[in-house]
Symmetry: C2
Subunit: 195 residues, 2 copies
Amino acid sequence: MARTTGSHSEITGPRIRAAALRLFARHGYAAVSMRQIATEVGVQAGALYNYTADKQSLLFSLMRGHMDELLAAHAALGQGGTPTDRLERFTRFHISFHTDRPEAVFISYMELRSLEPENFRIIEALRREYEDALESILRDGMAGGAFTIADPKIATLAVIAMLTGVNTWYRSAGRLSLDEVEQVYWDMVHRSVTG
Amino acid sequence: MARTTGSHSEITGPRIRAAALRLFARHGYAAVSMRQIATEVGVQAGALYNYTADKQSLLFSLMRGHMDELLAAHAALGQGGTPTDRLERFTRFHISFHTDRPEAVFISYMELRSLEPENFRIIEALRREYEDALESILRDGMAGGAFTIADPKIATLAVIAMLTGVNTWYRSAGRLSLDEVEQVYWDMVHRSVTG
DNA sequence: CTTTGATCTGAACGGCTGTTCAGTTATCAG
DNA sequence: CTGATAACTGAACAGCCGTTCAGATCAAAG
C-alpha cells in the first residue's frame, strides 16, 4: 500500500513543474527565482526542495521530460511507407507536437546554455537522436531517387529550423488552422527536397 | 576642438560593449552581472556607468545597433533584378551577415524577453521591417509568376527561420565554406517557393 | 483517540545584485 | 609647471539570491 501519510505531493509536485515551466519560458531560467515559483504555487520557497534537489535539477527535469516525450511520440509514429510518406508524417508531427507545448519547446531551445555540462550533454544527445531520425528519412529518399538533396546533414537542420520556427508565430486562434499550417509547410518542405 | 582631457572613453567604451556582447550571448542577460562585465574590461563596476545609464540600456543599445546595421547593410544590397535574383541576393546576404556576427544575432533573438516593453516594441518594429523586405520579394515573384507560394506571410517566416538556423551549426573552419553553405540554402529556398 | 511521518513554514545563512557617489588618479591645455 | 576635467576607484546602499533546517502542521493508519 502506497504511503500517503499527510501527502499532498501528487498535487504540489506537478504544480511546481507547471509554474516553473511557465516562468522559465516567460522570463528565462536565470531571471526566475525559487521564491517566485513558490509564490505561484502558493507555498514557501523551502517547500520546493521536497520536490527537487535544486534549481538546476528542476530545469533539467523539465527539459529531459520534454525530450523523452518528443522521442516517445515520434517513435509511436511508425516507420512504414515511402520516404515521401514518412517525411510528410514527420513534418506534420513536428508541427503539431511543437505547437502543442510551446513553453517546453521554448525552454528546451533557449535554456541549453543554462544547463551544467553533464546535463547539457544528455539533452543534446536526445536532440541528436531526433535529428538523426529525420536525416534517415532524407537519406532513404535520396537513395530511392525520391529526393534530390545536396547535403542531407544540412537539409536536416534546415528543415527542423524551418518547422520549429512555426512556434514563433502560431496561435491556435489565428488566421490559419493547424491543418492548414501543416499543409503549407509540408508543401515547402517537400519542394525543398525535390527537384 | 574635442574635449580630450584625461580621456580613455574611446577605448573603454567599445571594450565594454564587446565584453557585454560576448557575456550576454554566452550566459544570457539575466545571468551576467555588471561586475562580470567590468572585470572582463579590467575596470570597477562603477566605471561602466560612465558609458551606459543602466544594464537595460546596455542590452538595448547592443540590440538596436545590430538591427540598425542589419537594415543598413540590407539597404545597400540594392533592389534591381528579377524577384529570383533578389531572393538569391537576400538569401546569400542573410547567411553571410548572420554568420559573421553570431553573438549579436543570438542576443537579438534570445533576449527579446529581457527588454522592457518600450524597448521591445522598437526592436520588434525593426525586425518587422526586415521581414517585410523579404515578403515584398516573394509577393513580386508571385505576381510575376516566378514563385508559387500558398501564403507569402508564412513563407517569409519559414525562409527566415530556415536561414537563421545556419547560425546554430555553422563554423568558419567547418566542412563547408560559406559560399557552399549559401549555395545549398539558396537551392532549398529557391525550390521551396517554386513549383 | 494516539501515533506516525510526509509536508510545509519561517527564519536564517553567506553571498551576490544594480546602482550611487565622494574622493582619487591620469591626461591634456595653456 | 598649474589648473581643469574626464575617467576611475572603492566603499556603501537596500534588496534579492539559492539553500538549509528546526519546528509546526496535517492527514491517514492503527
